[in-house]
Symmetry: C2
Subunit: 135 residues, 2 copies
DNA sequence: CCAGTAGCTTACTTCAAAGTGGGTACTTTC
DNA sequence: GAAAGTACCCACTTTGAAGTAAGCTACTGG
């Protein structure tokens, strides 16, 4: 005798189906969180313009600590977005750049960053209206 | 005699200059964080497809709690991204939709969400290589 | 008349993200 | 010979984001 297992009906799992960020257990959600993380966005956007050394990146992305920058870069490197090129010289020199995959992601977040900068006025106007309406 | 003040040289402030997410004190950074927040991304992406009621949205965005959904929607509403339409009926009915401004933002994050889903395989391959390289 | 519903709010708790400050190894500059 | 640059790592602490659970209103169906 045989046992049949229904794979297609249940929408709770992601096995064998398209990744979907709306499903809590889908790994795509974690990747999305890496890309949209506080420092991840800024690092990717910066690296889209050119490659950076560690300290250079730290000075460019205002307010990031060494720990968080290192951690963010490692996460992005592991996900295949960032390429780390450590030259065996003294003092150490490490260049960070985007992989082709990372470039695709970076283009999206770069667009988002520039859009926010462009539309900041509109947001602040909306906030003024919102705050005034309930005061 | 006259006093001249150099406004352009200092890059530390944002007064009178273009908003820049790389500067820690720039308000644009906060807006970017709202848009790229854990639930903000998913809510905006969902609302791009159609308008939703509260509970509907809660069921659509897997894993979000009532508290976090309410909080996220309020933040997005205050920033002028989301329109809240509360009908004075019983039981209460509240419809959420995107404003024109919100639609612009949502298009970006929607693109990001779909991209992550499309490229998840590539990310997992990269992770495999990364993990194997240091084991 | 008690349970259930919708869309929240509030209080309490938990846990991970982020900050702080130290150390490393070696070199160049003051 | 002390300080600073370089790219980190590690331990510890703090903060705040998020989860949990309850309450709320005003009605409807059983």
């Amino acid at each position: 005798m045989s046992v049949s297992v229904d794979v297609s009906a249940t929408s709770g799992d992601t096995a064998g189906r398209h990744p979907n960020v709306n499903q809590p257990m889908c790994p795509s959600r974690l990747v999305l969180e890496h890309v949209t993380s506080r420092w991840g966005v800024l690092v990717l956007a910066a690296l889209l313009e050119r490659s950076y050394r560690f300290g250079e990146l730290r000075r460019t992305v205002g307010g990031v600590s060494e720990k968080m920058l290192a951690q963010t870069l490692q996460t992005l490197e592991r996900d295949g977005f960032v390429h780390r090129d450590a030259k065996p010289v003294i003092p150490p020199r490490v260049d960070y750049s985007l992989t082709p995959l990372g470039r695709e992601a970076a283009e999206q977040v770069w667009g988002l960053a520039r859009w926010v900068e462009r539309r900041l006025d509109a947001v602040e106007t909306a906030r003024g209206a919102y705050d005034e309406a309930r005061s």
